[in-house]
C-alpha cells in the first residue's frame, strides 16, 4: 500500500487506500492491514473523511441491532477504569513509537557528536527499537493458548541488528511456577531464546536472545520457571521473521 498514491483511473482520482475504508468499518480487515490503514488515516484527510462518511451506514445497522448489556457490566466497567486511574495515570497516553524512535535517533546523533568522549553502550532493546529497518510482525495466537487472547501480541524485528523482541499487552500470567519461554526455530532444533512473564498490568517486552534472522520462526511456550533447554509445552504464539 502506498501512501495517498493517487492516480487517474476511468477519469476518477483513485487513492489506493480508499478501498480499505469499507472493510475497515465492517471489521473485515486482517489485523496487520487494519494497523496500516489506521496509520494511514492519521495522515490522510481524504480517507478519514470517507471513513466518517461510510461510518453512518454501519452505525445505522449497529443502532438497529443494539442489544441491552447485562446489568452487572456497567459496575464492572466503572470499577475497571477506577483501577486504571489509580495504577497507571502516566500511561494514559500510549506510547508513540515513531516519535520515541526519533528521540532516540536524536540522542544517538548527540552521542556520535560527543564520540570519543564517552564509551557508549546502548541497551540492545533500545537499539532494536531505534533501528531504521525495525518492523512489526503480528504473533499468531494458537489454540493451545487457553486464556483470553492478548490485546497486543507482536514481534519487533530488525534485520540489520539481527535482533527481535516480543511485545504484549493484556497477556495473562503463566500458571503458577511457570514462565513463558521464547524459541527461535530454524533448520535444527528450537533454540531457547529467553524467558519472560508479564507485569501486573499484563504488559511484557522481552528481547530474544540469539541472532534473529529473516525466515526464522519465533515461538512461545509455557515452561517451568527458569525455562528448559528444549520446549515441552505446546506452542502458544508464533510468528515468522
Amino acid at each position: 500500500m502506498v501512501c495517498c498514491g493517487s492516480g487517474k483511473r476511468w477519469g476518477r482520482l483513485v487513492n489506493e487506500f480508499e478501498e480499505f475504508a469499507a472493510p475497515y468499518l465492517l471489521g473485515a480487515l486482517e489485523p496487520e492491514e487494519r494497523r496500516r490503514f489506521e496509520a494511514h488515516l492519521l495522515e490522510c484527510s481524504e480517507c478519514t473523511a470517507l471513513v466518517n462518511d461510510l461510518a453512518q451506514g454501519v452505525i445505522a445497522l449497529d443502532h438497529a441491532l443494539a442489544v441491552e448489556p447485562p446489568a452487572g457490566l456497567r459496575t464492572r466497567v466503572l470499577d475497571g477504569i477506577k483501577s486504571v486511574s489509580e495504577t497507571s495515570v502516566v500511561e494514559l497516553a500510549p506510547r508513540r513509537r515513531p516519535l520515541w524512535r526519533l528521540a532516540w535517533i536524536a540522542a544517538a546523533v548527540l552521542v556520535v557528536l560527543l564520540g570519543g568522549l564517552t564509551l557508549f553502550n546502548p541497551n540492545p532493546l533500545d537499539q532494536l527499537m531505534a533501528a531504521a529497518d525495525a518492523r512489526t510482525v503480528e504473533l499468531a495466537v494458537h489454540e493451545a493458548f487457553a486464556a483470553p487472547p492478548p490485546q497486543q501480541a507482536q514481534v519487533v524485528f530488525s534485520e540489520s541488528e539481527e535482533a527481535a523482541a516480543v511485545e504484549f499487552r493484556g497477556l495473562a500470567s503463566p500458571e503458577e511456577g511457570n514462565t513463558y519461554q521464547l524459541w527461535l526455530i530454524g533448520e535444527g532444533d528450537p533454540a531457547p531464546a529467553g524467558v519472560f512473564v508479564p507485569d501486573e498490568t499484563g504488559e511484557a517486552t522481552a528481547l530474544l536472545q540469539g541472532e534473529a534472522r529473516s525466515g526464522l520462526l519465533v515461538a512461545i511456550t509455557q515452561e517451568p520457571a527458569g525455562g528448559l533447554p528444549a520446549p515441552s509445552g505446546e506452542v502458544l504464539f508464533s510468528a515468522e521473521l
Binding site: 488515516l41 451506514g57 445505522a60 449497529d62 494514559l92
Partner: protein, 214 residues
Amino acid sequence: MFPTALARALVPETSVAWVAPSMDSFLPQSRVTPELEDLMRAAASGDEAAFGVLYDRTAAMVFGIVRRIVRSQEHAEEVAQEVYLEVWRKARNWDESRGSVLTWIMLIARARATDRVRSEQAARDRQERVAPGWVELPADRVAEEVSIAFEQGEVRNLLGQLTDLQRQVIELAYFGGRSYPEVARMLDLPLGTVKSRMRDGLLRLRQALGATRE
C-alpha cells in the same frame, strides 16, 4: 419508527445529573443534554461520572456489536469490558477533527471483537463438530442471524436497500465476522469486487438513513 429511534440514540433524553456545576459553561448553551463529544472530553480529563453517562449512551450498541461477533454471552461481556477500558485509556487520544465519538467507539468494539473471534474461530468450529464443512457453516449461521435481524423492521428497511451482492458481502462481514479475503473466498469473488461492494453497500445504507431522516 426508525427515524425516531435513531434520533433517540443520537440525542438521548435529558439527563444532567452527572454534570458538576462547573461543567455548565462547558456544554453548548442551546442544549441541556451533553453530546457524546462533551462526555468524551470530560472523560479524557478523568471524569468517571461523565464516562458512566458515555457508557449508558453507547453500551447497547457496543454490546450488540460484540455479542453478534463473538456470540458467547460470557465472552461478549469480557470483550465489552475491554472495549470500555480501552476507550477510557485512550480518551485523550480521541481527536474530534478525525471523527465522531460514536464512530470511534464502534471501531474499537468491532476491532476487539474480531480479534477475539478470529483467534477462537478454529477452536469453536471444532467444538461444534463440523470438521468437513466449516466453511459452509458460518454462512448458515449468518443466514440465521440475518433472518432473526430481519424480523426487526429497521434492519429489513436498511438491508432491503442493497443489491444482492452488496447485501451478501456486508452480511458475511457484519453478521459473520469474516474478513474481506474470507468473504472473497466464500463467494468466489475477486478481492477488489468484495471491497467495492462493501463500499457501495455502506454508501447506500447511509443514503437510506438520510432519506428516512428527512
